[in-house]
Symmetry: C2
Subunit: 518 residues, 2 copies
């Protein structure tokens, strides 16, 4: 058995049975071995950023890692932005990168590069395998490292000769990663006392606290103590909708965050970090913790945050039942299509159990409000701020959850980073409906231009922020990759198209024209 | 004057007046400053790989650097693959990367990452500017470093506050980079003696030796001494066609390279390195220098290779006149369209002075032969092997050479990496004709699967190498980005469409269907 075969069998035995790939010559033994190990599902992406983002989406929804398979340094580089987002989401990913044969690296062939230097900024663990004797164990270790709380990208580099040479037999799963640390009872008790003072407090949630159990425990704490509940701006996975406790997210705009946190005396962190401004702005603070506010850590991302919240609720003697979001849906609106009416349409139609991959940016500002009372659903956000996440994450989520509808909300500017996702959705028949908001500009940058104090921008500056002319035709682009698509210019049309897309299984795209030049 | 304004003025005063960009919030002051410094032309790319590849194409053709402007670590990461190609091409590029404000970096905001670790593998020089006092000098230094022989990527990181704070006045150009080193006369004389032995010799050319002056000098050497002339597999810029000396390139396939070099006793390197296999293959050598062949260095990439070749020709007493390629063109063929007939069509129609950006891969194998006798033209190749270069390089070459027709030969698999190039071509009205060869597979990988000894591949392996179903519709994809396009399925159609595309100014795309499933 060669290294590639033994590695794939190892990954499968460790529970990793999906591989998002864009391979090259140095990965051909891995590709050939797919026929030997049918338990491993290979999903081809036409660009590496799709593969890594799909691994992120898969990992968030499956709660276990997918593998990637990337081609040398440049292939890895193409996938780094979405590995950066996965890193911020604490998503487990086994990031397999092919390399030249060990003995070939001395020749500095054209594709040779410093893979370690490229990989380390996004990896919690990095190893370049040196022999088929150790490769299976390296693979099993990568799975453990990816799954070690809070989860991360474990990069395993596989030189071509390590792939093709005879190898040790597949490794079984290693002892499970250590579970998240239990928060000491003294910490819990101390925080219970703090909250019981009745001083203005905020319980700030992130990570696993945004799942149903965490939200219920957090709501018990909040309702008993009077603390306000808030969530980090960009949670990896947020369970929301009718029947779930409600938590407002911190705003992206630091000015609004300051208003949300104003007057807070105690900020209790549960699975997240103290809020900082997304970007720096002249003469504005980076640290968003209000003056005079004390920051307390209930649980970091490495701790068992859900258990800590439950312990805190119990320590307060909070009752088990909490207020939950009542069901409600807006009516389908009529008239012109804009960001607001588009949001209402989505609120009217969002299916129960939907997974929403949200990279709508400025155009999506009204969507959380419009969908708050929709049947229970899952929200995935742009954790690391690296644009081009939404469509790949939707792709991977659909692989992880074949029985759920995936809705991808995508800004037109962001859509153009990893649009190749649509082809993978078509090839795999994935049940993803993509809404592209066409405002034909980098609207967020037009806003940021003013916020950073650079003024309104002259003609030449604004030309760099406008996506037209020429206007992108997303219907043509989607059809060019085998995905049916429609363009909507009124609320009625958008409702018709979205309903049609959601009713049919398989991928579809709706271009929602909400403004801008044509 | 703020840092951004002073930096742009500095770049312009140092001769850098084109900036390929995909900016973000941390770059907004740079964008705003575009209106203050109209001498700087900003070209928007919808993806960073387009911006960096365009800077490569521009630098190769203009002989001076363009700037990039990229957004933090993830934006840089998206551009790394084409910076890798630029590194291999020794293209001068001033790679400007925005960063968070210096004081903001302590907060580990979502987009924070280790930019230095990402940049160093592709950069000959790296500096993160710390203050507006030094920023203009840093910018001038970046230009010098990018232009220092043989040329490379100089990465300048500009934190947002360095951009927006008051800065020193613009720096004038620094003293020019040291010229390439002159090869000592003893080296030249020794090599003249070696060649005069009449033992089987090869003069292997690369870098600037592939320009007209270098080729003439090399041909003088070859014709006088009987040495054979060969070129590196992937030269950055190759001047060829009727009236120019002919040089065959080393093959991509190591088996063929071995045949080209068989029996060589002396291998004389002029502006390139000793040949190594592009990839490693089981039981095949990585080093392609034949046994018993001595390797001599006339000039490395850092030396003045053209002057060295001229000195060698003079030392041999070679006459000034050399054999040049006679003009010849094939007739437009008729009948089915395949890689061979498509090449003949291109040979029949290639315009004088065309710049060809060649990422046709397997589909392009017949093109060099079919175009050898076409009117003089320039050939740009995939220097670093990182796929997704062709269309961005064509874009940048068209910005550098507005009076020349640019022809981009693109494989369908490779086209999908940086297809967003088409939008930039449409926005800027660039005179680029793109031919996409649709064989609907990663044909090179299907071949490599066998070459690496992985066999023919089973059904699951081959599915990963096939680009259909669904078949990509490049006509729809191009039109979706504002570029007129046609699909050709016969030689006659291809000739009609290509003629039409070449006759009209501005961008156009022809999808040449040369096989594969539909």
């Amino acid at each position: 058995m060669n290294g590639a075969q033994s590695l794939i069998r190892t990954l499968v035995s460790c529970g990793v049975d999906v591989c998002f790939t864009n391979p090259g010559t140095s990965e051909m033994h891995f590709v050939a071995a797919l026929d030997e190990v049918p338990e491993m599902r290979a999903v081809l992406a036409l660009y590496e950023g799709v593969a890594t983002g799909a691994a992120d989406g898969y990992g968030r929804m499956a709660g276990k890692p997918a593998a990637t398979l990337l081609h040398l340094g440049p292939g890895l580089a193409n996938g780094i932005a979405n590995l950066h987002n996965a890193r911020r989401a604490h998503t487990p990913v086994v990031n397999v990168v092919g390399d030249h044969a060990t003995y070939h690296q001395a020749y500095d062939a054209p594709l040779q590069s410093d893979i370690a230097s490229l990989a380390r900024p996004v990896s919690v663990w990095y190893r370049s395998s040196t022999s088929g004797r150790t490769l299976p164990a390296d693979g099993a270790e990568a799975v453990v490292q990816a799954r070690t709380a809070p989860g991360g990208v474990a990069t395993l580099v596989v030189p071509a000769d390590v792939s093709w040479n005879e190898a040790a037999p597949p490794a079984g799963p290693l002892p499970m990663a250590p579970p998240p640390a239990t928060v000491p009872v003294e910490v819990v008790d101390q925080l219970a006392k703090t909250l019981q003072t009745g001083e203005p407090s905020v319980l700030l949630l992130g990570g696993p606290a945004m799942g149903e159990r965490g939200l219920v425990a957090a709501a018990r704490v909040a309702e008993d103590s009077g603390a306000r509940l808030l969530a980090e701006t960009f949670p990896a996975v947020h369970e929301r909708g009718a029947g779930r406790p409600v938590v407002e997210r911190l705003a992206y705009l630091a000015e609004l965050t300051a208003m949300q946190l104003q007057g807070t005396r105690h900020l209790v962190l549960a699975g997240t970090v103290a809020p900082a401004s997304f970007f720096a702005y002249p003469d504005k603070p980076s640290d968003l913790v209000p003056d005079g506010c004390e920051v307390h850590v209930l649980a970091s991302a490495r701790d068992d945050v859900v258990a800590a919240l439950e312990a805190l609720a119990d320590a307060l003697g909070a009752p088990a039942s909490v207020t939950r979001q009542p069901p409600s849906r807006p009516e389908v609106p009529s008239g012109p299509l804009d960001a607001q009416s588009a949001a209402v349409v989505i609120g009217a139609l969002l299916p129960e159990g939907a997974v929403v991959s949200d990279e709508a940016n400025t155009a999506g500002i009204f969507v959380p409000g419009a969908t708050a009372g929709c049947p229970p659903h899952t929200w995935l956000t742009l954790t690391g701020g690296a644009i081009g996440q939404g469509m790949p994450v939707a792709t991977g989520a659909a692989v992880a959850c074949p029985d759920r509808k995936v809705l991808c909300l995508e800004a037109d500017g962001s859509a153009m980073y990893t649009l190749q996702s649509l082809w993978t959705q078509a090839r795999e028949g994935l049940d993803v409906t993509t809404v592209v908001y066409a405002n034909r500009s980098y609207a967020i940058l037009a806003m940021e231009l003013g916020r950073v104090g650079a003024g309104a921008g002259g003609e030449r500056a604004n030309r760099v922020l406008q996506l037209a002319p020429p206007a992108l035709d997303f219907v043509a682009l989607a059809r060019g990759m085998g995905v049916p698509a429609w363009r909507s210019t009124t609320s009625e049309e958008f409702a018709d198209h979205l309903r049609r897309a959601l009713d049919e299984p398989g991928p579809a795209l709706v271009e929602a024209v909400i403004g801008g030049p044509t």
